[in-house]
Amino acid sequence: MIYNIPFFTVIALIAIGMYAVIFKRNLVKIAIGISIIESGVNLFLITLGYREGGIAPIFTNLPPEITPSDIPEKMVMPVPQALTLTSIVIGVAVLALILAFIMRIYKEYGTLDAREVRRLRE
């Protein structure tokens, strides 16, 4: 049960983010929602990559109690961590761009309400 808590957190984060994106009218809140979904997905990746008692695959920095015969079992493939780092970097770029768009919209429309930001539909 205790090991499943991160997965429940992932579900909760994604659900909260989806709620914010779909139902909130404020554009900044939509951006926050996207950011929350992204944290949920990142947490999911990190949780999948966790191995109990695993060590980082750096041969020059092995803990002293590890013998070479332990290495195949103990060393963890760091792919999920690498994926998460990439995803965080991409997330920062997306968030910066969304906020820049929100700034432009606020300057021209004077509002952040999604119901009023609809000049294109007229």
Binding site: V79, P80, L83, T86, A93, I98, R104, R119
Partner: protein, 514 residues
């Protein structure tokens, strides 16, 4: 030459990527040199893609393991599975690559005059090159996480260019586009995590080999299909399309069409290669057919009342995406059955042929809309009229594009639509009837546009657009007429290999080995 062919998959992605980041420096030194450099890079990429296409059609699939001493060795010495990022280009991938490179070349030529100097044109070309990198990367990669990364490069560069005019409306369209893209990208990342958690693999071919089609895989499939369908603008996730397409600069709208098709390609790749025959083919194929029919019908009916010329064309883009989904969905529906070899593969050929045709004529139509906007500074059809008196070449290009989209011979739209009608008729006649009806409505809508924009008395005293814009449109027109006159040649040499490459999952898996 041999070295060159071997490394061309990596070069094709590396070259525009390096050029994109050199662009701001060259922009600082000399404006003219920047323009020449940008066009040169697009031309080189186009030539490289065509050389690689010849080689792939002749000698089969290309694989390229990035960072390996011998790039053809996809599985390193002691490992059992591919660990490095592998680029895997089959006939379908290079087919899409030709579309992306051609549309980007036309857009870059067109932008020489269309985008004004002094408004960050250097950055414009940087982002246009990044769009090309994103599209080519998505189409060439054999690694699902790499697909996600290139998808994001494509989305971010496109969103920045949609908002290029820096008006409030442009930001509104770009905001919608970016929200949709980033949510769909997170869907993709979540399904990648589901795959990695089960199989410890990221390579598409290796994943497909081990695919057990568990409940988690079904969830991943639903997420991937909805994410890519959202991004390719199929109904019911189409609402961002008209907003983003109408506010972007016209040359960018043409590349956005090609970008949506890169997502469509990813959708087909996931369905055919990643899952393949393990899928519940009737269900997924049927779902694609229904998505296709809905897109066709909703798109065209929404297009008819529009007054904004680019919004109208954007709704037509949704409707044409429906044809591709219908054709390839029919192929997926029949995959693995005896009927597949007789008319299933034909339906797929029709759908795939329609992808390239649509990129060409829709790109051309958006460019002509941009030419009108360039002179009149309006997109409202009611304020236009009598343009054929002065803008002769633009009106000829528009007529060709409009007839091609409506499926009138001898233009390319006719060829692909006819293949689709013939083949889906054997599944159910209703499908063909709806497809033809949509075609007629498309023609009606474009007759209206032609009449209100180009016919009538001379209201506006305007001049023809600059030469570089005409050359940009001319490139696409040439392709449309060529494809319309020799459809058999294109289908046999380009489309048929692409369709078989998509249908034959086993070949894609063998190329990786292990």
């Amino acid at each position: 030459m041999n070295w060159f062919i071997t490394h061309s998959p990596a070069l094709l992605i590396l070259l525009p990527l390096l050029a994109a980041f050199l662009m701001p420096i060259i922009d600082k030194i000399n404006k003219k040199a920047r323009n020449i450099f940008a066009i040169l890079i697009f031309i080189i990429v186009e030539i490289l893609v065509i050389i690689l296409a010849f080689d792939i059609i002749k000698n089969g699939m290309h694989v390229y393991a990035i960072g390996e001493k011998n790039p053809l060795q996809t599985i390193p010495g002691q490992a059992a599975v591919p660990i490095r990022i592998v680029l895997q280009i089959d006939a379908m991938g290079i087919f899409m690559g030709i579309i992306s490179a051609t549309v980007c070349l036309a857009a870059s030529l067109y932008s020489l005059a269309y985008i004004e100097e002094g408004k960050g044109k250097g950055k414009f070309y940087t982002l246009l090159l990044l769009i090309l990198v994103g599209m080519l990367g998505m189409e060439f990669t054999g690694d699902i996480f790499n697909l996600f990364v290139f998808y994001e490069i494509l989305s971010i560069a496109s969103a920045a260019l949609i908002a290029y005019s820096r008006k409030g409306e442009a930001s509104e369209g770009a905001f919608k586009f970016l929200v949709i893209s980033s949510i769909s990208a997170l869907f993709i990342l979540f399904s990648i995590a589901l795959f990695y958690g089960q199989y410890d693999l990221l390579n598409i071919a290796a994943l497909a080999k081990n695919m057990k089609y568990t409940h988690l895989d079904k969830i991943a499939l639903a997420l991937l299909v909805s994410a890519f369908a959202m991004k390719c603008g199929s109904v019911p996730m189409h609402f961002w399309c008209p907003d983003a397409y109408s506010v972007a600069p016209s040359s960018i709208t043409a590349t956005l069409v090609a970008g949506s098709q890169a997502s469509l390609y990813a959708l087909f790749r996931v369905c055919f290669t990643l899952y393949g025959v393990k899928l519940d083919l009737q269900l997924i194929g049927g779902a694609l057919i229904i998505f296709g029919l809905l897109s066709m019908f909703v798109g065209v009916t929404m297009a008819i009342p529009q007054k904004d010329i680019k919004r109208l064309m954007a709704y037509h883009a949704i409707s044409q995406t429906g044809y591709m989904l219908l054709g390839v969905g029919a192929g997926l529906y029949l995959l693995g059955k005896p009927e597949f070899d007789s008319y299933g593969i034909r339906a797929m050929e029709g759908g795939i042929f329609h992808i390239i045709n649509h990129a060409m004529y829709k790109g051309l139509l958006f460019l002509t809309a941009g030419a009108i906007f360039y002179r009149l500074k309006t997109r409202n059809l009611n304020e236009m009229g009598g343009l054929a008196h002065r803008m002769k070449y633009t009106s000829i290009f528009f007529i060709i594009g409009a007839l091609a989209i409506a499926g009138v011979p001898p233009f390319n739209g006719f060829a692909s639509k006819l293949i689709i009608y013939e083949s889906v008729y054997k599944i159910s006649p209703i499908l063909s009837i709806i497809a033809m009806l949509v075609s007629i409505l498309t023609l009606a809508s474009f007759v209206k546009v032609f009449h209100s924009a180009f016919m009538g008395p001379k209201i506006h005293d305007v001049e023809e657009v600059p030469k570089s814009m005409l050359i940009g449109m001319g490139v696409l027109t040439f392709v449309i007429i060529f494809f319309g006159l020799f459809p058999g040649f294109i289908v046999n040499n380009l489309v048929h290999p692409a369709a078989t490459a998509l249908a034959e999952q086993a070949k894609y898996l063998q190329a990786i080995g292990g």
